[in-house]
């Protein structure tokens, strides 16, 4: 299926925006003004972009500790995201969450859990609410292959399938949970196939091919919106940086350098750019234009964050309970 060029440019822009933002984090992290751990999704951008293209602004999204990209593709405010990295009061969580806990309720981004698998049942619960209300909203929940180890994944998928809930499960399989390989943790290797055990639909896609993800998500969203229940999308990908932090981890012996290099050859952003240029959807000048616009937005977001106020001690005890 050939996509409309408008959609193609949107997908490319969406991925590039996430990539450039995180590259800026890599650049500025050593200054040590972002005083919280960062879990970067560089190399995995196609998945969020391809799925979010099928979500409306009031649909729900839940994510995990590696959630900057999901936040941005759902339409989350970039200034508030970066301010959160810097622990500022203008951050999306007022500096109480840090990079692992980002939220923008105005676009249905209802939060990220840094407990592996923790966000999955919430996505199902939001879908349950949609089902009870009959409001037509759907949910998407993002998690990694590590969450496939967790019991809560099975509990949640079973319930979603049992009740035919409008939710898309998106497993970003980057083959590592911190430094432990999928092979060391999973008896089988096909996560998508597990949906069959719940009489549900699983789709395995190349997670570095944004159009493949887009097409899988189209099917999943259609299923959700037409009362056919959940879909498990397994998107195969690779994270370029270490589990946490701005650096690579092969030097420490966490993963083979050759493996990283092979996956970098399959860069989702670069390969899509090549396709769009070769097919005449964009040219180099248009690409520059897109990059310029994004870079300006990023610069503005970092300036906003750095110039924003830090919390004071008086903020410590606020926000616990809604009065």
């Amino acid at each position: 299926m050939t996509l409309d060029t408008t959609v193609q440019i949107e997908l490319y822009t969406s991925m590039l925006r996430v990539r450039l933002l995180e590259e800026k984090v890599v650049e500025l992290y050593p200054v040590q003004e972002m005083k919280c751990p960062v879990h970067l999704c560089i190399g995995q951008e196609a998945i969020g972009s391809g799925v979010a293209a099928h979500l409306k602004s009031d649909d729900y999204l839940f994510s995990n500790h590696r959630g900057h990209g999901h936040y941005l593709v759902k339409g989350g405010d970039m200034r508030a995201l970066v301010a959160e990295f810097y622990g500022r009061t203008t951050g999306c969580s007022k500096g109480k969450g840090g990079s692992m806990h980002v939220i923008d309720t105005s676009v249905g981004m209802l939060g990220t859990s840094a407990i592996v698998g923790g966000g999955i049942p919430m996505g199902v619960g939001a879908a349950l609410a949609s089902s009870i209300r009959g409001d037509g909203k759907i949910s998407a929940v993002f998690f990694g292959d590590g969450a496939f180890d967790e019991g809560v994944f099975y509990e949640s998928y079973n319930f979603a399938a049992l009740k035919n809930l409008p939710v898309i499960f998106v497993c970003e399989n980057n083959f590592y949970a911190t430094n432990s390989t999928q092979k060391a943790r999973h008896a089988g290797s096909r996560i998508a196939d597990s949906a069959a055990g719940f009489d549900s639909k699983g789709i395995c896609v190349d997670g570095n091919d944004v159009e493949a993800v887009y097409n899988a998500a189209a099917e999943a969203a259609e299923r959700a919106r037409s009362g056919k229940g959940p879909t498990l999308i397994e998107a195969l990908t690779y994270r370029w940086k270490g589990h946490v932090g701005p650096g690579t981890d092969f030097q420490a012996g966490c993963r083979p350098e050759a493996e990283l290099n092979a996956w970098m050859e399959k860069c989702p952003v670069k390969s899509y750019r090549t396709i769009l240029i070769e097919t005449g959807v964009i040219d180099a000048a248009r690409d520059e234009e897109i990059r310029d616009t994004i870079s300006k937005e990023i610069d503005d977001a970092f300036e906003f964050a750095i110039s924003s106020p830090l919390p004071t001690e008086a903020d410590l005890m606020t926000d616990l309970f809604c009065e």
């Binding site: 007022k94 969450g97 806990h101 923790g118 509990e155 079973n158 319930f159």
Partner: protein
């Protein structure tokens, strides 16, 4: 006021009705059922889920008949997946619905501590107040009938030790209904703990929907010599103890804390200004228990008011045994409260 009174048994309530025919008697279990029914009738955003809520028995009668009346989508039986289902209920709450999750035994909630302690309790603070979690979880605790270690725990202190959870333990039918309705309309996660020893207790319960404010204790009986701070079922025991102590010329003031978090410290301090003596009665474990928290706060903030050491009536640090002989030795009641009072006010 009729609803502030604790009636030890049905006959006591019947005598009260003879004097005041306007009293409307309901058991604790029916008060929960009535609150649930009225919420289902009046609020489309409210729903109930839990293991066995549609069983013929209806969770000790507290959900009996609700699925037939309101449908399986609003009174929903769930798979045996405590952690996942807690997250599901929470997810619905994040969209603004007001779910009530029911656990037949608090013991099963330990499986869902990840969603309760890591998620529900933290979601508001961790996101700087950007979102609320209007989730209520009913947890049934307390003495069974040889139910042993995994079906009769009282784990309130486990929840009070996690910031971000409100923890309530209503002790009367009136409070059971009013506090359940308040919990549902509270925008924070509330752990609503019921001791099933209370289910048969009868008291005045108005027919209409009403709220009992969370975070406020209540004086169940006024006294001048000693303050007995009690929770849940121990409120009845403390009331019985207070009556027995009259024969010894001791006037005991009984305070029902009702809400454990946030704690009504003021009501305790006000009482101690009169009595200067404190006994705490709680059906949780003594070590690290809620009674320890009350004792610690009084020691820190009101030490000057104390005329005698604080006494605690709480459970010993072993799992609940099954044999009725051991069970009797394990649980505490009015006699233990009387003894504790006499140790400091004899």
């Amino acid at each position: 006021m009729p609803w502030t009174k604790v009636y030890s048994d049905r006959s006591e309530f019947d005598i009260a009705v003879e004097k005041d025919p306007s009293l409307r008697g309901l058991t604790y279990r029916d008060a929960i059922l009535e609150a649930s029914t009225q919420l289902l009738e009046s609020d489309k955003e409210f729903f109930i889920m839990g293991e066995g809520v549609d069983d013929p028995g209806g969770v000790f009668g507290t959900t009996k008949g609700l699925t037939e009346k309101f449908g399986a989508e609003r009174v929903m039986d769930t798979p045996l997946a405590e952690n996942g289902i807690t997250g599901v209920a929470m997810g619905a709450a994040l969209t603004g619905m007001r779910p009530l999750l029911v656990h037949m035994r608090v013991d099963f909630m330990t499986i869902s501590l990840d969603q309760i302690a890591n998620h529900a309790a933290k979601w508001r603070y961790m996101f700087g107040g950007a979102i609320n979690v209007p989730l209520t979880i009913r947890a049934i605790v307390g003495r069974g009938w040889g139910s042993a270690a995994q079906h009769s725990q009282s784990l309130q202190a486990m929840f009070t030790s996690v910031p971000g959870l409100k923890v309530v333990m209503p002790a009367t039918p009136y409070d059971a209904k009013g506090m359940l309705i308040s919990s549902i309309y509270d925008d924070n996660p509330v752990i609503f703990i019921e001791n099933r020893g209370l289910y048969e207790q009868v008291g005045h319960v108005p027919e209409e929907i009403y709220k009992v404010e969370l975070g406020k204790g209540i004086v169940r009986q006024e006294g001048t010599d000693v303050t007995v701070v009690a929770t849940s079922q121990m409120v009845s025991e403390a009331t019985k103890a207070a009556r027995a102590l009259v024969a010894d010329g001791i006037s005991a003031e009984v305070i029902d804390m009702r809400t454990l978090v946030p704690m009504d410290k003021e009501i305790v301090i006000e009482s101690l200004k009169k009595t200067g003596r404190l006994v705490i009665a709680d059906n949780g474990t003594k070590e690290g228990g809620y009674s320890a928290e009350v004792a610690a706060f009084v020691s820190e903030e009101a030490f000057d008011l104390l005329k005698a050491p604080i006494q605690r009536v709480a459970l010993p640090g072993v799992p609940t045994p099954a044999s009725h002989v051991l069970e009797a030795a394990y649980y505490k009641g009015a006699d233990d409260i009387v003894s504790a009072v006499k140790r400091i006010a004899g």
